[in-house]
């Protein structure tokens, strides 16, 4: 065989290998799971009938949202790409309890559900959101502002508490609590009280004998970090000298405006985390001394860092869901891991800043949406116990408008 033939054989071989390898068409698909979500109802519900149930699956890694409306026979079947999902459900329910007919919104909530394999299933108990005819948190301005020199400015944060009812409410004794746990750091805290109570690391209480601080329907009170005119120091800031109350701790480098009453500080040091890692609630704790005696929460968890695992024991207070009037979970989109309240009092979360340390978050607040306005001009704010739906994130603070 001469060289020309050798060469032709060589070229033919190359062309054949090239053709085979490059022309293989790969019809690949992403692995999916046939997922069944079974739901149950609280035992006291009689003849429950559910309609318009929407189940939202949020893929934690990709942020992709899949809505499903095939709820029937107390379950849904859905095909999802494998992954970790947050699941939230909301629908309309008619039911009887002790012979009386009721109707309203029914919900379900599960976090970080691993959906993988060819089939998977999960059982979850639906719940009816707690309702109360008391104050609600209308706004939290937790980010602070930036000076003209581009420096962070603290002290001009505030919380706005609103009377969303049609009757006069008294703010006396109303407490504002800050969560002990953070929405960006999920740990296995033992014992787990998350469904029944909120673990808190600080409590503020509005002073008064019960009738000192009336708030008209549609009225509000402002609780300022420092109740001064911050615009005197920072033109980008807010005048809080007319706040109803301010937060003052004697043992810290804090400003006390004698013209603004101070909040009572029965427990811990209340801080508004300026990146939005904590959650906040308002609660009626009753006799505060008795509360501090009866509701301690001792818990354990394991601090993990690289290969180290350090068992930790800590203590704080727990506020039972029944005492909580309203709650708002705050978090950061890129960092969110869990909500630190029971989903029955808030099954969502809101934010200022989509990443940890977002440089665009300053001067923005979370502001509750207006549901409707009455004929006499009173705003009724939206309160579905889902902060994701009820709040406008990254809003212009109402005191800055």
């Amino acid at each position: 065989m001469n060289m020309k033939n050798n060469f032709i054989i060589f070229c033919s071989l190359i062309i054949t290998i090239f053709s085979i390898l490059s022309c293989t068409d790969d019809n690949k698909t992403v692995n999916t799971t046939e997922f069944t979500l079974n739901t149950t109802f609280p035992e006291e519900f009689e003849e429950p009938s559910i309609s318009n149930m929407v189940v939202k699956f949020t893929n934690v890694n990709t942020g992709r949202v899949t809505n499903n409306t095939t709820f029937a026979n107390n379950q849904i079947h859905v095909t999802l790409p494998e992954g970790i999902y947050h699941i939230s459900m909301e629908g309309f329910i008619q039911y009887k309890r002790e012979g009386e007919s009721h109707e309203g919104l029914i919900r379900g909530y599960e976090e970080s559900v691993n959906i993988s394999g060819t089939t998977a299933s999960l059982a979850t108990e639906l719940f009816i959101s707690q309702t109360s005819s008391d104050f609600i948190i209308a706004e939290i301005f937790f980010t602070g502002t930036v000076t003209e020199e581009g420096q962070q400015y603290d002290g001009d944060k505030y919380i706005k508490i609103y009377n969303n009812t049609d009757k006069v409410l008294y703010a006396d004794g109303l407490s504002i609590v800050g969560s002990a746990f953070q929405t960006v750091d999920k740990q296995d805290y033992t014992p787990d009280i998350m469904r029944e109570a909120m673990a808190v690391s600080s409590i503020l209480t509005i002073p008064g004998n019960g009738t000192e601080h009336p708030v008209e329907p549609g009225g509000y009170i402002i609780i300022a970090d420092n109740g001064i005119n911050h615009q005197a120091q920072n033109s980008n800031s807010i005048d809080l000298s007319k706040a109803d109350f301010e937060i003052f701790y004697e043992d810290s480098d804090d400003i006390d405006n004698p013209e603004v009453p101070n909040m009572l500080t029965p427990y811990g040091k209340f801080l508004l985390h300026n990146r939005g890692f904590n959650s906040y609630a308002i609660a009626r704790l009753g006799d505060i001394e008795k509360f501090l005696q009866d509701y301690t929460y001792d818990y354990e968890w394991i601090f993990v860092f690289e290969e180290y695992q350090i068992p930790c024991e800590e203590s704080c207070y727990k506020v039972p869901n029944e005492m909580i009037v309203d709650a708002v979970n705050l978090s950061v989109k890129s960092e969110f891991q869990w909500i630190v309240t029971s989903p029955t009092i808030d099954m969502g979360w809101t934010y200022c800043g989509v990443i940890d340390g977002d440089e665009n978050r300053y001067g923005k607040s979370v502001l509750r949406k207006t549901f409707t306005t009455t004929e006499d001009g009173r705003e009724i704010l939206q309160d579905t116990n889902n902060s994701t739906e009820d709040f406008t994130p990254e809003a212009t603070p109402s005191l800055k408008k």
Partner: protein, 506 residues
């Protein structure tokens, strides 16, 4: 470091130069070395054993250079629109004895890539699309070091050779966002060739390599930072790891083999086929070394040619084809309970298929050092198809291209001149961009749109190079080389690149 690099290599190559005295004048060797016929067949020399037959003379060159590229916008925003750098480059090819040859290559570059957008990672074309990106971007300072060396020895029936190269790259920015990237890229080959008959040999070679890049993006502003994205292709990203995962590394390796058939005297048919697999993992260091992506790349390339360069009428024809298939895999990350992220599964989401086919010819005549010219026409087809599986997304662009290269060299006494004029026109034949499930938060799509705008447009390139050589005593020479390139496309993209080099050849 720059000064030390230049000093060491100047001394090294001066030493080589004293060994490598060649009877052929330096100007002649430079003309032959850079002529189109000398590099017309090139793929077979990936086998270090065959590189023994690459040149019949020795040549060494030391040069310093400067490059400035200006453009009204970037062709690929991830690479930046403008470049300026200073470089030092040295190469050598020489016999060490009667039956052995060695060669080496080293360069150092220091400069700046300007207006880099949607990419804070180095070696974008190696690790794409799995880069860290933000909407801010900016200029990137860089320093690059490259060292390569090979050795081949001929025996009666066979020849063997070894080769290795190492590239180190440091890229950084001194204002937020502040990437600091360090690349180490090591490649090595070993090959053998055996005689089939009086003229032809056949060779086989094995190739391997190790790739590593650390990519660390920091923000020092007390007010916070811009959003950073861990991109997954066609505007997709890990929503869960926006901002949080900016300290990471790429850990890769490569292996491959090639087979060649060639005439040892460069006259006749030659053919080569090579396969290489390159894989890397993108690992997030600040999340307990969490593997986020895996990419597997298979590449095949072939070159078939016939050359007749001995006669008065020198000519050759050549066909080349390259096919590259990249498969991108995303890790499924479980619940971060106790702040420990664990990989729970994976999904093969990305596919990139790239094919380049070209045919070219060369014809020319040479009258010694007095006058030489070559004309090299070429035509080609390039295809690029990138698909994201779920949600379904696709970018596909195909080109037809045609070009011509003209080379002329002439000499007078101690002076010689080389002139190269090159032009290529690429006509887009297919362009398709399909994006589903777009939402406002996927602002990294801006880079996809920008890249697609340029990739889907026709474009042309003109290049002119002029080199002046001057003979010095002891068979050495000095040279000055100027190069100007203009790239343009109808979608208002204009890019000018100017290079100037000078050096010594011996």
């Amino acid at each position: 470091m720059t000064f030390r690099f230049i000093l060491i290599f100047s001394l090294l190559f001066q030493t080589f130069g004293t060994w490598a005295q060649d009877s052929i004048p330096a100007n002649t060797r430079a003309r032959i070395y850079f002529s189109p016929t000398e590099s017309f067949v090139s793929q077979i020399y990936d086998n270090p054993a065959i590189n023994y037959y690459a040149h019949t003379f020795s040549i060494s060159e030391l040069q310093i250079g400067w490059e400035q590229q200006n453009a009204n916008k970037a062709f690929l925003p991830q690479l930046g629109s403008e470049v300026s750098n200073f470089s030092f480059h040295a190469f050598s090819y020489m016999p060490l004895g009667e039956n052995s040859k060695t060669w080496g290559n080293a360069y150092f570059k220091k400069g700046k890539r300007e207006k880099v957008e949607w990419n804070e990672t180095s070696d974008y074309l190696t690790v794409y699309p799995y880069v860290v990106a933000d909407s801010v971007g900016g200029d990137m300072d860089f320093e690059e070091y490259y060292f390569a060396g090979g050795y081949a020895q001929k025996h009666k029936r066979f020849t063997w050779g070894i080769y290795a190269n190492y590239r180190a790259l440091i890229e950084y920015r001194k204002i937020d966002p502040r990437p600091r990237n360090i690349v180490s890229d090591l490649k090595a080959s070993i090959g053998i060739s055996g005689k089939l008959n009086k003229r032809y040999s056949m060779g086989i070679a094995f190739h391997t390599g190790k790739y590593k890049q650390t990519n660390d993006v920091k923000f020092y502003s007390e007010l916070g930072s811009a959003i950073t994205y861990n991109l997954s292709g066609l505007g997709m990203d890990y929503v869960r790891f926006r901002r949080g995962a900016t300290s990471l590394f790429y850990d890769g390796h490569r292996y491959g083999a090639s087979i060649e058939i060639f005439p040892r005297d460069k006259q006749g048919f030659s053919g080569s086929f090579g396969y290489e697999r390159f894989s890397f993992e993108k690992i997030i260091s600040d999340l307990n070394d969490l593997p986020l992506n895996t990419l597997n790349q298979d590449e095949m390339k072939t070159e078939i040619a016939y050359t007749s360069f001995r006669n008065k009428h020198q000519w050759g024809v050549r066909a080349r084809a390259t096919y590259q298939n990249r498969q991108g895999i995303e890790s499924l990350i479980g619940s971060a309970s106790t702040n420990v992220y664990e990989k729970t599964g994976e999904a093969e989401q990305l596919s990139v298929k790239k094919a380049d086919i070209s045919v070219s010819g060369v014809y020319g005549q040479t009258k010694g050092d007095r006058f030489t010219w070559y004309l090299s026409p070429r035509a080609g087809f390039n295809s690029f198809k990138m698909e994201y599986l779920d949600p379904a997304r696709l970018m596909e662009v195909n080109y037809l291209s045609g070009g011509m290269n003209f080379f002329a060299a002439t000499g007078y006494k101690k002076h010689s001149f080389q002139f190269v004029l090159d032009g290529v026109y690429r006509k887009n034949s297919t362009a398709d961009l399909q994006l589903t499930e777009i939402n406002q938060e996927q602002i990294a799509l801006a880079a996809v749109y920008k890249a697609y705008d340029n990739l889907s447009a026709d474009n042309w390139t003109t290049n002119i190079e002029l080199r002046w050589n001057y003979s010095l005593p002891k068979n050495r020479g000095i040279f000055i080389k100027l190069n100007w390139q203009h790239d343009s496309s109808p979608n208002d993209l204009h890019r000018e690149t100017l290079q100037a080099h000078c050096g010594i050849v011996f």
